[in-house]
Symmetry: C2
Subunit: 170 residues, 2 copies
């Protein structure tokens, strides 16, 4: 079902764009439901993913870096970290070198618990991807990378805004 172009035709740019939009909307929705269960919000889930990923690489994030990563204001980030810290998902510490900075660590106890949080989704993904060959996975990885890059570039940079006739008041 969801038969768009028939089935055996190659998806157009528009087809892929729609599929990607559907995926991101569904992702937001999942984050929302997921967060409701664990007392987190969409932003908190995103932040936790970013912090965990950085911590896993041994490069703990700072609040400022997290703010830039998420596109949040510094003050919102402080509140966000307060929430995560209260729930025990992350931890603040002042590095010895620059004491202006704050490092966001994931407490040992939380590392595994946090991973468990995302395990159900990871399992669901793994199952749904069981049929993909090595070559196909490389294609997909490439696609995800360039698409992420495209969004990053389209948002921050300049993207030749088309003549927009109808301008909304605001």
């Amino acid at each position: 079902m969801t038969s768009d172009t028939g089935g055996d035709d190659a998806p157009t740019d528009l087809d892929l764009t729609r599929l990607l939009q559907t995926l991101t909307v569904e992702s937001d929705r999942y984050a929302e439901r997921f967060g409701a269960v664990h007392g987190l919000h969409r932003t908190d889930v995103n932040a936790l993913l970013v912090v965990m990923d950085a911590a896993r690489r041994g490069e703990p994030m700072s609040p400022g870096a997290l703010a830039r990563e998420l596109g949040l204001s510094p003050s919102a980030t402080t509140a966000l970290i307060d929430r995560l810290e209260t729930l025990g998902h992350v931890e603040r510490s002042r590095p010895a070198g620059d004491r202006r900075r704050v490092a966001l660590n994931v407490p040992e106890a939380a590392v595994e618990a946090n991973r468990h949080l995302f395990t159900p989704l990871a399992i669901a993904f793994a199952q749904s991807w069981a049929g993909f060959t090595a070559e196909e996975r490389m294609v997909v990885a490439r696609f995800l990378e360039v698409s992420t890059e495209a969004m990053k570039a389209a948002g921050s940079g300049r993207e030749a805004p088309p003549h927009d006739g109808a301008q909304r008041r605001r």
Copy 2:
């Protein structure tokens, strides 16, 4: 950066999961920045996409359906539609048959304007996907479909929530 497993190895489930997470985080960030320019919020952008997609298929959404689609409460959806209607992106109308219902239409004038809103990103995507063959696109489309399904299923279903310590009520 892009610390993958080397280059020519096939991405593992974990690799793909991370790439997908990065993409969705970036997508949220894009929606946020994008919305800030046009006086919209993340949710409004998602809602507009959903409503536009439904309208394009000739099946205008109702507030209730939109609420379920986005995982919002009915009251939040009312406010959301108020915002979109004030900005002229959508329009309320009561269908002749059941006058309890409300149909969300996209005004003719807004159809093209709304499409223009998303054109920059569509262009960026199209450029980044220029190198994908027909076969590769079909692989990607399949991947996006099954991944979306996986999220939908993982969220609604019950996935044996692990013992979690801290919890907050809303």
